[in-house]
């Protein structure tokens, strides 16, 4: 019997039921993951469209493609869509939702209906924000600094805030579900230190989601209240304090970046071990470093405010802590690198993405030290140096990890293999395009080009043109996976349960898995990544 026939006759989570209702009312975590996949892909391309327009404008120094106000809306909407509607949900709500129950040997998450509600909240929040965009958009930047956002902006501030507010609850529910699931539903024998590191990192992420998101919720609510009823919470003319807004905003928004990067690290731990067939070097160190990042990440928000007039002593505390938070990340990078030592390394697409992550995250993380360093930060804050830094982490880091994860688990999710050569080509194109887009921006930043600039000084043009050229390459790189992954759904060869020969409970069930995940409850007796003792590679 050929594998094609097996795929068609066996029942699994995709073919067990058809029709709108089976998807829109699903409580299967795998289907919820796919619902998120479709929604966030839409928002990714929307945010990417804004980015394209931004880079087109920035090819020439004068603001000649768009009016200033339009440009200001473009960068604001790019940030809002990419951060709240793509990056924050991406890995947790797609891969986390799909994989966490599988990885711990459970049938579903703890609260499947809350999981579906989480998706609906995301969609509603997204639709409201789309309405805001269509109705004119906002020009406040994703940071909504007061008093500009509360008193001066003419955009759809309140509507956008409501959209983000609602989407925030999606994030909270996802985090809540993950924490409870990981605590209470692990398979017999799956102790904490036998868990895949994917779980540890998502657990740390969930803590941040649960504790941080409510603060941004109330903060943005206050801005909306100030705007609607002309009360002066952050309005200096009425005794309010604009700096209070900044503290409240960054108290969430700094940990938020760890919500965005920790899941990327989660994926990389899996990709490196799977495609080098090696046990992770320093398991406990990598596990604890995720928790350390989550905890310390709550204590560094003031590094966004070094030039706002914050007290020198507060600035010094935040600078020191911001340096400290880099250490656990460094520990991870070294441990991943050591994991490659004496491995059996296969340079397929997931491994290429993982290596790309390690290199680019290292650069992005190191440039974070520049920003943590007080005297240098005074010069480069609010310039393209910061823009380059966070794009290295979020795009060079999280986005690459996301794509690597999608490729790695594509066989499990879809039951098909993606075309490896195309995938490798796309990974390389993305890597090259990315570096060409964002490396020049470090130089621009130190030269003094401020961010959020519609028009800029003549001498900055060469580097901006390089950046735009890179962006066009990057765009091609991102379109390729869309094309061949969809292609593979129909024409890709069928995948068996474990095409990579990887450890991990998710690979002990069929591809795609049955709705209830496992026919037989797995019992765990081994440490994670038990290569070397496992059966020979299936490939």
């Amino acid at each position: 019997m050929s594998t094609e026939q097996i795929v068609e006759t066996r029942e699994h989570y995709l073919n067990c039921a058809f029709g709108w209702k089976s998807w829109l009312l699903t409580t299967d975590h795998k289907r919820v993951g796919l619902l998120f996949l479709i929604s966030i892909t839409f928002f990714f391309f929307l945010g990417g469209a804004f980015a394209t327009l931004i880079r087109l404008e920035l090819m020439t120094p004068p603001g000649d493609l768009f009016q200033a106000e339009t440009y200001n809306k473009l960068f604001s909407m790019h940030g809002i869509v990419m951060i709240f509607f793509f990056l924050i949900p991406s890995i947790p709500s797609v891969l986390g939702n799909f994989l966490i129950p599988l990885m711990i040997g459970a049938r579903d998450v703890a609260f499947p209906r809350l999981n579906l509600l989480s998706w609906y909240l995301f969609v509603i929040g997204g639709l409201l924000t789309l309405c805001a965009i269509v109705a004119g958009g906002v020009d406040t930047g994703w940071t909504f600094y007061t008093p500009y956002s509360s008193l001066f902006s003419n955009g759809q501030v309140v509507l956008t805030i409501v959209g983000i507010f609602i989407a925030g609850f999606s994030s909270i529910l996802t985090g809540l579900n993950f924490i409870v699931t990981i605590h209470t539903m692990r398979a017999p024998g799956l102790t904490w230190f036998r868990l895949p590191l994917f779980i540890w990192s998502h657990y740390a992420t969930a803590i941040i989601q649960v504790l941080g998101t409510p603060v941004i919720a109330i903060t943005l609510a206050l801005v909306a209240i100030e705007r609607l009823w002309h009360v002066g919470i952050f309005d200096p003319a009425l005794g309010g304090d604009p700096i209070l807004f900044q503290h409240l905003f960054w108290f969430y928004s700094h940990p938020a970046v760890y919500i965005m990067v920790l899941p990327g690290m989660a994926v990389v731990s899996e990709l490196v071990t799977t495609h080098a067939r090696r046990r992770i070097f320093g398991y406990k160190f990598v596990a604890y470093s995720s928790i350390a990042i989550a905890v310390i990440g709550f204590l560094v928000w003031g590094h966004h405010m070094f030039v706002s007039g914050q007290s020198q002593y507060a600035s010094m505390m935040f600078s020191a802590l911001s340096m400290v938070v880099a250490i656990p990340s460094a520990v991870k990078v070294f441990n991943w690198t050591a994991t490659l030592y004496k491995g059996s390394i296969s340079l397929d697409a997931p491994m290429l993405y993982a290596i790309g992550f390690i290199g680019l995250f290292t650069m992005g993380g190191l440039t974070g030290l520049f920003l943590a360093s007080l005297a240098v930060d005074v010069h480069v804050t609010d310039t393209y140096f910061v823009v380059a830094h966070f794009h290295y982490i979020m795009v060079g880091g999280t986005m690459m990890a996301y794509l690597g994860g999608i490729h790695n688990w594509w066989p499990k999710i879809s039951g098909r293999l993606y075309p490896e050569t195309w995938a490798r080509v796309a990974a390389v194109i993305i890597f090259i395009g990315f570096n060409l887009t964002f490396f020049p921006q470090f130089i621009l930043g130190y030269l003094g080009m401020p961010r959020r600039y519609h028009s800029y000084a003549e001498e900055f043009q060469v580097l901006n043109v390089m950046s735009t050229a890179g962006a066009s390459i990057l765009a091609v790189g991102y379109l390729l996976p869309m094309a061949y992954l969809i292609w593979s759904l129909k024409y890709g060869p069928a995948a068996d349960a474990n095409p990579w020969g990887a450890t991990g409970l998710e690979w002990q069930t069929e591809s795609p898995p049955p709705t209830h995940n496992f026919d037989v409850m797995p019992i765990v007796t081994e440490q994670a990544y038990n290569y070397g003792n496992a059966s020979p590679s299936v490939r």
């Binding site: 008093p147 320093g282 030039v307 441990n335 390394i345 943590a372 360093s373 961010r451 600039y453 519609h454």
Partner: protein
Amino acid sequence: MQSGFRLFPEQASTLAPQVDYLYGFLIAVSAFFTALIVVLIVGFAIKYRRRPGREAEQVETVMGLELVWTAVPSILVLVMFVWGAALFLGETVPPKGAQDIYVVGRQWMWKVQHPNGRREINELHVPVGRAVKLTVASQDVVHSFYIPAFRVKQDAIPGQYRTMWFQATKPGEYHLFCAEYCGTNHSRMGGRIVVMEDIDYQKWLGGYTDRTPAEEGRDLFVQFDCVSCHGTGSRQRCPPLGNLYGKQEQLNNGRSVLVDEAYIRESVLDPKAKIVRGYEPVMPSFQGQLTEEEILALIAYIKSLAPAPSGEAKKVQR
């Protein structure tokens, strides 16, 4: 102003080379570790590539290695922190005798006023080789006064004063940018810093017959009847203001406060926030009655007051 392609900004202040040294150190450390990781990864990917007949070898965690690569980065970041903090502390405290200049930002321009009254818009003329202290305020939203060539930047927060200082080292023209997004024309809210030799600067300043900020301040002091309480004489029931600027004032809650621009501004707009020991909280608030520039003028006037003799306050110094 520099046109043409550059990779590094000009160094035009005493601070700039110091920041650039620290930047250089950070680049060196970053380049080293990036290169190290890249070489290792690429090396391993080649040397340990998957080949038939070769299995992966499992390697146990080496505690010593974990400690080393935790400790070494920790020491490096400690150095970065101390270096950056030391430089930062130095750049936040202006040296004594720094020349005072007032800057008010508003959508979408910078208004600059020199102590002798000369005003500028989107430009700042300064002498080379002398410390200049800027008091930065905003009339509406948050802006940021940024001079890349000097490596200095300070946010202008509405309702508060901030100070920054620099000492220019090279005559020339340098970019002035607004560095905090402030609305439609944020990217056009800039201009130039013009550094001149001292002689040229004096020439540029002098022969200027407009009123000084301190003179304007004195007029406001009379116009708003501050003089009825704060003037000297037997009816004095408010703290005297002669020779007060820069001193410590004792408050009624046992604490003391430095009399600087921010304290004077607060006393004018929110007099009940701090009460001087031995006085009653009877001063009315002037919130909403004075613009930012008028408050700065009053401050300039109070700064100019010589020690108060038993008679009237001395005339304003030119």
